[in-house]
Every structure is written in C-alpha cells, then in structure tokens.
Amino acid sequence: MGRINYSYKEKYLLTASIRDDGSSRLTKKYSTFPSVAVGWLMSKEKFMANSKVFSSLKLRGSYGETGNQGVPPYSSIPVINTSNVGYYFDGSSLSISTPLGPPVSTNLVWETTLQTNVGVDAGFLNNRLAFTIEAYNKKISNLLFSYQTPAYLGGGSYQRNIGSLQNRGIELGISGTPLAPNPGGLNWNTFFEISFNDNKVLNLNGLDNVIISGIGQPQANISILKVGKPLGEFTGYKFLGTWKTAEATEAAKYGSKPGDAKFLDVDGNGTINENDYVPIGNGIPKSTWGFINDFSYKNFNLSFMFSGQEGSQIYSQTIAYTWGQAPGVRNATNSDATKMWTAKNETDIPDFSTTGSPNGGFPTNTSRFVYNANFVKLKNLSLTYSIPQSVLGNAKIRSVDVYVSGQNLFTITKYPGYDPELTNAQSAQTQGVEMGVIPNPRTYTLGLRVGF
C-alpha cells in the first residue's frame, strides 16, 4: 500500500492512500482499494479569521474503498468431508462415510465497501456551541454470504457474493455550554446527537430477488433479504384481527369461523398460504438519538442521559409464546386472554379455536406479533456530592464522592414486551427478532468513592 499525507498552511488537508490486497481464499485474489480525504479549515482563511460568529469552521469530505475477504479458507475448493458418522450396512458395524461437501463459487471476489462522506464541523461563540453534521453514503457490493443451495445441489451452504446493499444517513451533533463557565458556580454542558439511517438491499445478483433461508437465528424464516427492502425485513401473514359473526360465510371459505384469526389473502385464491406472505416490519431504526446533560453547582454534580429510537419494529416470539405454542396447546399466560373474542364482545383478539387457517389459525410468522419499537428512555441519572477539601483537611485522602445513580429508570414505549432496546439479533440480518431476551436491568446505585 501507499499513503500520502499533505497539509498546506494547515488550511488544506489531503490524505490519500491506495492499497492492493490479496486473499488466497478468493478466486479473484487481488483487489485495489483507493481512498482520499480532503479538508478545508475555512476559519483559517483571511476572510474568516476575524469572524464574530464562527470560532472554527471545517469542511471535509472523503471517499474510500475497503475490502472484506471474510470467508473461511478453502471456500472456493470443493471438499470431501470426513466425519464420525456413517452407515450400518448390517445394522451393527459402521461403514465410514465421506460425503461430498457443497458446491463452491467459481468466482469469489472481494466484498467491497465504497463510502463517501461529507461533513461540516463548526464552532461558534468561542466554541461554546459546536455543531457537527455528516452525511454518508455507503455501498457494499459483492456482499459475501453463506448461501444455502437449492436441495438439488445437496442443500448445504457455500460462500457466495450475493449482491449489494446501501446504507445512507445523516448524523448530527450539537454540543454546547449554555452558561458561561463559572468555576464554583452553576455550570451546564449539554450534548445532543441524532443519526438517520436508510438501509436497503439493492440487488441480489439477479439469481433471486429474495433470500429467505440461511439468514440465521434466532427465529428461522422470519427475516429475509429482499431487493428494495432493508436487511432482515420480516416476512409473514398480515394479521387483520378476527372474523366477525357477520363474516361467517366468508370465513368458512378459509375453513375458519367467527373468532378465528383473519389474515390478508394477498392473491385472493381463498387459501392462506406462503404465497400470502408480505413484508411485515423491520428491526433497523430509521433514527436513533442521545441527549446528555451535565450540571454542576459547587460540590454537586447532576448528569443524565436520554436515548431513543424511531422507525423500527420488533417481532416478538416471546409474546407469541404467551398465547401457547400450537393449536391445542393453548395455555395462555398473556393477560389479553381476558379480552379474547366472544360472540357477545367481538374483539380483535382471536379465541382458542383450532379450526382456523393457516396452521389452526395460529401461525407465528404474522404481523400480530410485530410491534412498534419506538422508545424514549432515561438511560442514566446520577447525582454526586464531592466532600470539599476543606472538610477533608489534612487526612491523607485526595477525594471523597458520595453518589446516587440509576440506570434505565423509565421507558416510554408502546412495545408490550420487556425492553424495546434489546433483541436477540446475532447479525444485521436478524435485527429486531426477539425471543426470550433478558431485558436491560433497572439498577439503583448508592455509592461512596474515595481517592487516595
């Protein structure tokens, strides 16, 4: 690789590099990744030097390509597997078996991330107010993915470049010191940041426009990759509430009766099956934010942080389980069971009938168990009192702080599960899938901190 750093009069900054990487694991082993970043410290220009408004102003931009060769060794060479299992041709003695492994890509190339950033850093009023905005556009192409073959290719998984996806967003940060610094008096520092993200799958190489298997746990078959949708879009039946008494005739066409769950018949063929799957949500937030404040007055210090997110959903397997797992095994532990449909009170909570369609009226891949995951949360709050030096006197103690703090003190959310902040996602593809996750604990701490 080669890299140059160049700075002219500390106003114009340039960093450029080019690297050529090789990986034995790929079939196209070498790829070249250039990057360049430029910056302009405008505030150092003569026309800005005496600005009353700006104390600093920097414009910056960068473009870079990086590579990922994240596949196991020998991903492009077919292998014969050796294992301890085999077959018993006489029912008692083992014949070792050596199955042929899955087929391999004949054209396995570097996964490439192409990222463009532009940003402005501005400081005002002697840097008491600072403002940062950054926009990014990141395109990952030749995404490497462990792809499950069709059954006629043995049904195993192999490493493949499956397509490309895009991440675009804007990040905004404001930090400030609203009150003039006042040693010993009231001081206030505040910081707010928010990021907006837009993620979508651009293409899956034309072979498929959707990948539903091999996406990973925790809940198989709920997360998919689909062109035009964000990573790990949920897929399933759209839940329409219950069949009402007035709809008995229509319900019967689906093998259902009033009180059974009603799902959208997308193709209108009178049967609810996998052809009626639609996108029903996504676990990637459109925006996340944090708001931190820190106050101090004399020996007291108070700080707290709020955070939140907007625009994502959670698919909760846990809540599905609170309705019992299967037709006939319905031992609900969900308090909404008291509001189940009855002929007299036709609510949209299906009853325990097993006649519905599909799966006895109780499929788990349905928007019924997809919830809005927006939340506002007080992540932490702490109050500290530092015993003054005058009190500590000549004792050989440098400092004594007494504090009380709390984490996850409250959450404002419509999500009926425990904690909208956490899911069991093991990868970006399974984001938002919740299945018995342990929530963030609410903790209170009373403490004494002594420094020697």
């Binding site: 018993y88 199955p99 063929n269």
Partner: protein, 514 residues
C-alpha cells in the same frame, strides 16, 4: 517541493510489491474430489455417504417421509396436537411452507441424488477389483433411481440432474416422462452392475432389489399420469424374474415381519443403529397413542394412525389383528391399566392405531414397546428396526396386478401371487374367475392392508388410480374436515414444491392449486 517527487516514488514502490506471491490455496489436510476416489475404500465411504443421507433424523428415520401422503385413508393425524405439518395434508390443505416436507420428502432424495452423482461421476477413477467397483457404483444408480421415483410421484415434474453441476446452475423442471426415463435407465444400469447379494451387508441394494423397484416403476407408469399400458407387461416380467429367482419367501407370520430385521421377505431396507447415532424413530413411540403411558412414565407421540373407516373396512383375518391396535391401555393411579376400545369416549380421538410399528425389532437393541395384552411396561422412541422399503409381498402384488392388466384378465400365476399374500394374511383364496378390473381392484385392496402406512404405498395407489374423490367420500365424520379452500381436488395428487426452493428457482412454476 519534495512532495512532487515523493508521490510518484511511493506509488512505484507500491507497484513493485504487487502480485509478488501467488496466493494459491493448497488444502493438504483436506480431501478434495480431485484427489479422492483412488481406492475401493474411498469409493465405499462415498457410497456409505449416500445411504447416510437417508437415515438422518429429519430424513427417513421418522414419519416425516409420509407427511404429504396423509390425504390417504391409511394415515391421519390428531386434530389438536401440534401435528399441523401432517394434518394439513390430511385435510388436503398442505402448503409450500411445510418445513417437514422441505427437509424430508424434498430434501432427502435430493441429498441422496447429490451424493450418488458424486459416486457415478468418479467411480471409474478407482483402480481395483471390477466386481467390487461395479457393486459400489450400482448402489449409487439404485439410490438415485429410487430417489427420483420418490420425487416424481410426490412432486410431479422435477429437474433431472445426473452429473455434478456448478453452484449457480438453475435448471428447469423436466417433464414427468423425462424423470421416469431416468429412473428406468438408472435401475437398468443398477441391475447390470449389482450382484445378487452382498454377504454380511444386507443393507446394500442388490440386483433383485433393483428389479423389484423397476417392476413397481413400470406398473406406476402404466397408470396415471403417464397411462402407458404397454408397461404392464414390462412390470410383470420384472416382477416375475424376482419371483422365479426364489431368493425371497414370505415370513409365515405377518406380525413377525415388523419385529425382525432383514428377514426372508425383506428385499431392500434402511438399516439403523441406535448406539451409533442412527436410531430408527419410526417404530416405537412414533405411532403410539398420546394417552398411553408405560410403567416407565413414557408416553406415545401419536404421529399417525389410520382413519376409522379404513380400519373398519379391513378384512377379518389374522393380519388385521396384527396390523391394528384397537384396545388402548390407559394407566390408572394404582399403576393398573384400564383396557378401553378405541371407539370409547374414554379415548381422545376414537381412532384405532397401528400395532405393527409398536415394538420394533425384538432381539437387537432397544425395544420400542414392551407390553402384554394388559400391561405396558416400557416405551421407547428409538430402535434398530430396519425400515423395509421393499418387501416381497409388494413384488407379488405388483406381479398380480401387472400380469392381470397385461393379459386383460388374471392368469393362474396372477391368482397364485395374490393368494400367497392372502394365505399368509389368514384370508381365504381370492374368488376365481374375476374380470381384469375386479381382479385389479382386489389387488389394490390387498395392497392397502398389506402395506398400510409403509412408504406411501397406499397413497401412491390412490394417485395412480385417481381414487381421491372416493377415498374422501368414504371418510368418517370423525375425521379432520377436508379443507380445499376453493381448490380442485385433482390438484391434491401432488405436493407443493417447498417455498424456499421456489424462491431459489424463480424459473419454476408452482404445482397448480398451491
């Protein structure tokens, strides 16, 4: 400025280092197809890999392999338990999202075909005894032919793949006739390659196993959907050659067939070994009632049982007694057992069960169910029972039907074939002088009870003779309700292609009605 010189210089240095090594992977510790297939043991281990695909738990080692055949009268499932994957097919409302189908009935034959292609493509590289090499290759042809036969009868058109293909290969679905041509070609090749027996290895397919299967294939081709009547004679000839070989005889007692391994009527079966991690879970708990508990506290899994009217229509004979389980043993608080007829309101579903799959093999490893008429001692989900794919009675009945239909009426040999089966069952000889169709129907009736719940034999008869409307009409009101959802019953003869596979093959069209 110095930078002006430095930049080009840097890049020059960089370029000089590019591509200095080859980065070639040399997997010395890993076997690859390019270096494998040198010795007979390489070949044998590759053949064992084919069979291994068949006996994994999600494959053919449970009743998963029957799920799409539950529309048949010999199979139904509990209305309330978590048996939706099979019950939906019982209600003629199966779907492409059925995970069991995707794994077992679709995935298993393909996995076996994939491994078979590996052997067929490479066996000629092996240097050694030609007879041993041919014997190994013949297994691959046999299993591949059988696997395509299972696929084409279950799913209709499927792609025919007989070589190793690249990872991005996405074939069209071949016509049913093309698939059958491959089945025949594979089985004929197997017949030329396979010996008459493998001493000490009863699990290996033999020449007569291939002939027996080929007879069944021809018989199916003579009926729906191909309706090629000329195949009746071919079926009869193949079956006759197996009969004349004298290699097989019926086990005198029907019940013993299901408690012994590799007995005198077993032509081809899958072998299991519990301690080796290959348990057969089709026998034992699998078919036993949910409400039956043994003294050891285990209970039945109730995966499948026959429809009521199927049992009621069974001939009164010893075989029926050995086949069906009609008095349930319900454990009481004092550990005694209350004996309850299946149609009592004290049973959960008022259905009979199968008796023949309860025990599993009795003198080799764990027993599925240890019981007397009044006590249930132990129950167990795993046995070493060989799961017979092809038994001699099927060859006899294939012969009886094929010889009858080929000659436009039963011959003396047709009668003697079916009467061998009937005699063993404890039934009288079949009425003489039947017409071709009446005789055929008698054979089909006999097959239903001789082969009930075995490898979809009854379902495939319903398919090839287009019996579904009358089978549905004969259902007892206590059965699960049929739920066609506006689809034509004619579309139910095929199972839908699993949804994952449809998405991976956008060039395919789903079977009608799904």
């Amino acid at each position: 400025m110095k930078m002006k010189i430095l930049i080009p210089l840097l890049f020059l240095v960089l370029m000089a280092f590019l591509g200095c090594s080859k980065l070639k992977e040399d997997p010395k510790a890993t076997l690859t197809p390019a270096t494998y297939f040198q010795t007979q043991s390489d070949l044998d281990a590759s053949v064992a890999a084919i069979y291994q695909q068949l006996v994994e738990d999600g494959a053919y080692a449970f009743d998963f392999h029957l799920y799409s055949y539950f529309g048949s009268d010999d199979l139904t499932a509990d209305p309330n338990l978590a048996k939706g994957d099979q019950r939906s097919f019982d209600e003629l409302n199966g779907s492409s999202g059925n995970g069991s189908i995707a794994h077992s009935q679709w995935g298993t034959p393909w996995a076996a075909i994939y491994q078979s292609n590996n052997v067929i493509q490479n066996y000629s590289k092996v240097v050694g005894d030609p007879a041993a090499i041919n014997g190994a290759a013949g297994q691959a042809y046999f299993i591949r032919g059988w696997s395509y036969y299972m696929l084409v009868r279950t799913f209709g058109p499927v792609p025919v793949i007989t070589t190793q293909v690249p990872a991005d290969y996405r074939p069209a679905r071949d016509s049913i006739a093309t698939v059958y041509a491959t089945v025949i070609s594979d089985l004929q090749t197997a017949i030329t390659l396979l010996p008459t027996s493998f001493p000490g290895a009863p699990g290996k397919a033999t020449q007569n196993a291939a002939r027996s299967l080929l007879a069944d294939v021809y018989l199916t081709m003579a009926t729906w959907p191909l309706n090629q009547a000329s195949n009746y004679a071919l079926a009869a000839a193949e079956a006759d050659s197996v009969i004349l070989s004298g290699q097989y005889t019926l086990v005198p007692d029907y019940g013993t067939v299901f408690t012994t391994n590799n007995n005198s009527e077993s032509i081809f079966g899958l072998e299991f070994n519990v301690p080796g991690g290959n348990p057969d879970r089709f026998y034992g708990d699998c078919s036993m009632p949910w409400e039956e508990y043994g003294l050891d506290g285990n209970f039945g899994w109730e995966e499948f049982y026959p429809e009521i009217n199927f049992y009621k229509a069974a001939p009164v004979c010893k075989r029926t007694d050995e086949e069906f389980y009609t008095t349930l043993k319900l454990i009481q608080p004092d550990k005694s057992f209350l004996l309850v007829p299946y149609n009592s309101v004290k049973t959960r579903n008022q259905h009979p069960f199968y008796r023949k799959f309860r025990s599993g093999v009795v003198n080799d490893g764990p027993i599925g169910c240890q019981e007397t008429d009044s006590i249930l001692f132990q129950m167990n989900p795993s046995t070493n029972k060989t799961n017979d794919v092809m038994r001699y009675p099927e060859v006899l009945l294939d012969y009886a039907e094929a010889s009858d239909m080929a000659a436009s009426g039963p011959t003396a040999q047709s009668y003697s074939a079916i009467n061998l089966v009937r005699t063993r069952a404890g039934e009288p000889a079949l009425t003489p002088g039947l017409s071709a169709i009446a005789f055929r129907d008698s054979v089909v009736f006999e097959r239903a009870y001789e082969l009930a719940a075995e490898w979809g034999a009854r379902w495939f008869d319903i398919v090839r003779l287009q019996l579904l409307p009358q089978v549905v009409a004969a259902r007892n009101p206590l059965e699960n309700p049929i739920s066609l959802g506006g689809n034509n019953i004619q579309t139910r003869y095929y199972c839908p292609i699993p949804i994952d596979e449809m998405l991976k093959n956008p060039q395919w069209t789903q079977n009608p009605g799904y």
